[in-house]
Symmetry: C2
Subunit: 337 residues, 2 copies
């Protein structure tokens, strides 16, 4: 019995080596080709080589190769407003005729008046209020269907592309590179867990069970004998700041060995990863490219990078200078996204 279990583990290891070897063979190009030669790229490759070299002092077994990624501003853009907030706005506007009281109540008022400055100031909690009001009182299946429709039709105001096309090409390559080296990649986002799961598998190749995010409460009930899960208009958990390591501990139950973020909301997740016994890797994406994307940090209402930037410098974490380090930001429009 136990021999059988140990045997199947060995087979998985062998297969992973097969995967790695196959990937090495097919990747005759640079697996991180959208990254310029820069300290950040070298640091990533060095880290991966150290934790994957068998018998080396920093070797990490497959089961512990957990990498966590923030989503907004780390895997895709978050300007001019969080994409999920835009989804909420579109939905609120759609539902507004049935809710006259929204005209006088924030954050709904600013949504209906297109007052994005006031809206942005309401922060993550404001976003979650809109999410609750606009997306509750329906089943999980119905919600997924609404999000899917929105992703397939809505376009970003600046780039005129669908929102899930505005993912960072260098980060897509990083996800593939880490997985080719036996990492299990997770999303840990302040965004809604059920919102993210609609596109995470198709866009990032990250399955639903590896997506962690904020959530509203749900209720299980039988409707005419058919079980459904209803979304309730009440916050369950906000996966931001201290919430991130708490959620990582709850969902994964292991300390990550690598963490990727871009804002103060990611600081605690990176601290938790950094404090692991043994080698770990912490990276912040610094938005420095006003031309191809946006440039913002300490004073931004969305994706503020202030304390985390100081902490990163003090603790020698890797900081990506988007303008300098990336030779591409988004995938080519014809890349099949």
């Amino acid at each position: 019995m136990w021999r059988l279990i140990k045997g199947s583990r060995a087979i998985v290891c062998v297969c992973t080596m097969v995967i790695s070897a196959t990937c090495s063979a097919t990747m005759q190009h640079d697996p991180l080709s959208s990254w310029n030669d820069c300290p950040a790229k070298s640091a990533i490759i060095d880290f991966v080589q150290r934790v994957t070299t068998v018998d080396a002092p920093d070797f990490v077994p497959l089961s512990e190769r957990i990498a966590v990624f923030d989503n907004d501003g780390c895997l895709w853009s978050e300007k001019p407003i969080y994409f999920q907030l835009q989804f909420a706005i579109d939905r609120i506007k759609q539902l507004a005729p049935n809710h006259p009281e929204w005209r006088h109540r924030q954050p709904f008022k600013s949504v209906l008046e297109d007052d994005q400055e006031t809206l942005a100031k309401s922060g993550m909690e404001g976003l979650l209020k809109l999410v609750m009001a606009s997306h509750a009182e329906m089943t999980t299946d119905e919600f997924a269907s609404i999000v899917k429709d929105w992703l397939n039709t809505a376009h970003h105001p600046r780039f005129q592309r669908r929102y899930h096309e505005l993912v960072f090409q260098p980060m897509l390559e990083l996800l593939v590179y880490l997985r080719a080296n036996g990492f299990k990649t997770y999303i840990t986002s302040g965004g809604g867990i059920e919102f993210l799961r609609v596109f995470a598998e198709e866009v990032y190749d990250i399955p639903p069970e590896q997506v962690i995010g904020s959530s509203i409460k749900t209720n299980f009930e039988l409707r005419n004998g058919v079980p459904v899960i209803m979304r309730l208009p009440e916050i369950n958990f906000i996966d931001d700041k201290e919430g991130k390591p708490i959620a990582i501990n709850k969902f994964i139950g292991r300390r990550p060995i690598a963490a990727f973020g871009n804002s103060d909301g990611d600081l605690q997740m990176l601290q938790w990863t950094d404090a692991r016994k043994g080698l770990s890797f912490c990276l912040l994406v610094h938005h420095t490219d006003a031309e191809r994307e946006w440039a913002y940090d300490r004073k931004s209402h969305i994706g503020r990078l202030d304390n985390a930037l100081d902490w990163a410098k003090e603790h020698h974490w890797t900081i990506v200078d988007m303008k300098q380090d990336w030779n591409a930001v988004y995938p080519q429009p014809d890349a099949g996204n």
Copy 2:
């Protein structure tokens, strides 16, 4: 980019076929050898063959082969009291000298007086109160260490074996059999998520990220600059009854295609699985073997099987008659457990 992602998926598929083929080759014996020839065994094998046969009408892709297992009474015994409750009792007794007020307050009073009947009546909520009082106010790492020590030293009163040796051999074989067929196996237990994770990987080969359970709240904080996660004396979530499908939706984000339980606490999880579009499999372990384990169902304080038994019969779910269907209950003591 996208071709690369699709390519790596194909490689994973090929590897899984390699795993399956290797397992078939090495398993010259019956992979479910502790199961007698019985309708339950036939139903399991038939289901697995149908969902894994490519191009067959019931074929299920690898990514959707999710199987969820209750723990208490399904993967290991739960008598005379939940094993985690015994852990709590041992811990409460250890801490009692510092808590004189416990002598007059339930459920602590019954713990200190060895009044197991009163204690059993306090049910899952009583258990969780004891867990909170006895296991909070410490870090997650400290808690894991205490549980590990207990598992290595405590012995079951009837069988005089360590608690994690009292797992069901037929269910261990079932876990291996499902995984060999590409299933991802999860625990969804009313027991504590951090309690379960201490032994689930070693005993069931189920990694922490595939363990779902009840939880208390936690807090992230820096202690002298070192991040820790503290366990707070407050219930976060009870993963029982309606809580099970809610937690499955939250943690996994996909509907399972197979669910295994043994009590009314598992009914909603099985209903949720059963209502999946496409083929699914629901199984209840019926404890009918007073000689080798225990015989109990509708009137038991612990692991009551009443409504779920009726529902299972009406909906033609698979019911295991432990006495008739299993030729072994626990692993042999010399099996390396």
